[in-house]
Symmetry: C2
Subunit: 354 residues, 2 copies
């Protein structure tokens, strides 16, 4: 292959092309004429869910963007998701990045392009999905860009505010910190396995269970209350959402913080529906839980002595967290099986699909 | 046509579907636990270049998003624009929205999706175009989203800061205010007329002139210095960029401010190259100047007695402005021809093309 034809995959491009272009960006500052200052606390080089800016005053601003495949979701193509659903998803996927920073979302900006032939009813449904997701977290959709394209294209940005010094970054986990997750993962992937699988003669689940699988795609929730609880606690040392899967999340906290993790298999929260679909489809349960499932849970680290206090404040707020492991000095990330053996984390690693 | 098949155009959708969904949004506030407050000063209902937030402290934050057709630009398809060029354009189109608010850009977030087969050299060129445009205005590209899609998809968001109370909105023009523009318009449209036209047996321009036409697409400039001069002057009552064309800009200032405008044909700045291409292609010069040409100039209103002071501060900074008309109580927008006749503004009205 000639060098001009090489097309690297995404992680390679991020590492080899994008990262060098934006190295040493954090720390950049800019001033208005009267001395008002803004500082980039975490830029592209931080590779966090959002960029973080410190501004004069008592808060930081976080800002992130996510493109959503939407009409290219397999479950949309199969007719299981509506235009309302992909609008809702677009908003929540972006708002989840704000939640993962421990911030309060204050704005969503949406880019909605569509073929001229898209009927008004479908366009309206899309916008209503966005509107309702925004209402759900209490942040306004403040505009963006609408217009035509050859197919539906969905992208958005979200902005949030957080108390000065309280943004939750991926860096900051230290050996001994406890690794926690806000809830079970693998549900979104199980929905794809169940509805998108080829085994059509396979046993069918009751409608209520099918609906619970689809709700991971139809009504994903940005965990803003969880994120706020984490950031205001002062006990959390690193955080991100599981939009690339739990394995990818843990690996990324490890890489950014310069630590390793032991993940206890027996401690992983398991949703009944995930276990049921794994059995039905002959999949390995732990791989599904850790793999590239877009569940928008938060995975984070807490100082060892902070866990009881954080658990209490979560319980007081009616929220849940599960301790699933701990950070190590050794940089490897491993799964401790029930019998005590340590293995590499199973599950599909993160490679964004087309 | 059944009602479920109706597919309205974009202005109709904005007016009938989007606007009612986001009415009365401006004024929304949100607080962090310790009382830190943020207020949405101009939301989607304001239909400005950006949304504007007031935060505790001495500044306002502006935020906007623009999708860019990029690979669907006719001049890209014809081979006149490179991947570097459309990356540069993406950044500048978004940064121009910040300039139009009178703000200092502090961040660009980019969404870059591409077919897996896109060679690294092309991807790199795209990113370098973005990087260089950001350097040009001194704002960092703080991240966003990269990944695959079936074709190149380019979208971005930009954020800026401006002194409290100084954001330049589209509302605020009052009868008697002077209408001004920062420079000649119609160059981008002339490039399309010249290179995209069907008359291949037409006279060819010298290479230097062809290059100057293409530079409107290859190196558009966000007029940040102009915008800052306008906002800090305290003399400007409304502003927007001419990314939808000068006519659309004037009409939109009129609609948002509840005024009309008289545009003096003889006062319109004319670039030699625009006149030359209009003659070569048999087009009406004034229609080209006013029509849907993406030139990223700023069109704005100034208090009548403020014009001399603003002109001086522009001249001191080595910048230019041209007075092209004035605001009227009557809501109509008209062109005053050299012979004194008033007509509707000529030129293609804004309808985003596919």
């Amino acid at each position: 292959m000639r060098s001009t034809e090489i097309a690297s995959d995404e992680p390679t491009r991020l590492a080899d092309i994008v990262a060098p272009m934006f190295s040493d960006q954090s720390g950049w500052t800019r001033q208005l004429r009267d001395g008002v200052k803004v500082e980039l606390l975490a830029g592209a080089d931080a590779q966090d869910d959002c960029a973080v800016f410190g501004v004069d005053g008592p808060m930081e601003i976080v800002l992130g963007s996510d493109y959503v495949r939407g009409p290219k979701f397999q479950l949309y193509e199969l007719g299981h998701l509506s235009n309302y659903d992909i609008g809702y998803y677009l908003a929540m996927a972006n708002l989840s990045d704000i939640a993962a920073m421990g911030a309060l979302p204050i704005a969503l900006l949406t880019v909605i392009r569509y073929p001229r032939s898209l009927p008004d009813v479908d366009f309206t449904a899309l916008m209503e999905g966005i509107r309702d997701a925004c209402s759900q977290v209490g942040a306004p959709n403040v505009g963006g860009d609408i217009g035509s394209a050859e197919r539906i294209i969905l992208s958005a940005s979200a902005m949030g505010i957080v108390e000065r010094g309280r943004s939750l970054l991926r860096t900051g986990a230290r050996p001994g910190d406890r690794l926690c997750v806000t809830g079970p993962t693998g549900i979104a992937a199980s929905a794809q396995r169940y509805f998108g699988g080829s085994g059509t003669d396979r046993e069918k689940l009751p409608t209520a269970k099918e609906e619970s699988l689809l709700s991971a795609w139809r009504r994903p929730q940005a965990l803003v209350r969880h994120g706020r609880c984490l950031s205001t606690s002062g006990l959390v040392t690193s955080c991100q959402d599981t939009s690339d899967g739990l394995k990818a999340g843990v690996q990324s906290l490890a890489a950014a913080s310069g630590v390793g993790f032991v993940v206890e298999e027996s401690a992983l929260p398991v949703a009944d529906i995930v276990a049921e679909v794994a059995q039905l489809t002959g999949g390995d349960l732990t791989s599904v839980i850790l793999g590239d499932s877009v569940d928008f849970q938060l995975v984070f680290t807490v100082t060892a002595d902070g866990v009881p206090r954080l658990s209490k404040s979560f319980a007081d707020a009616g929220l849940q967290l599960t301790e699933i492991g701990y950070a190590t000095e050794e940089h490897a990330v491993c799964l401790r099986r029930a019998d005590g053996r340590d293995e590499d984390l199973p599950g599909v690693p993160w490679r964004h699909a087309t």
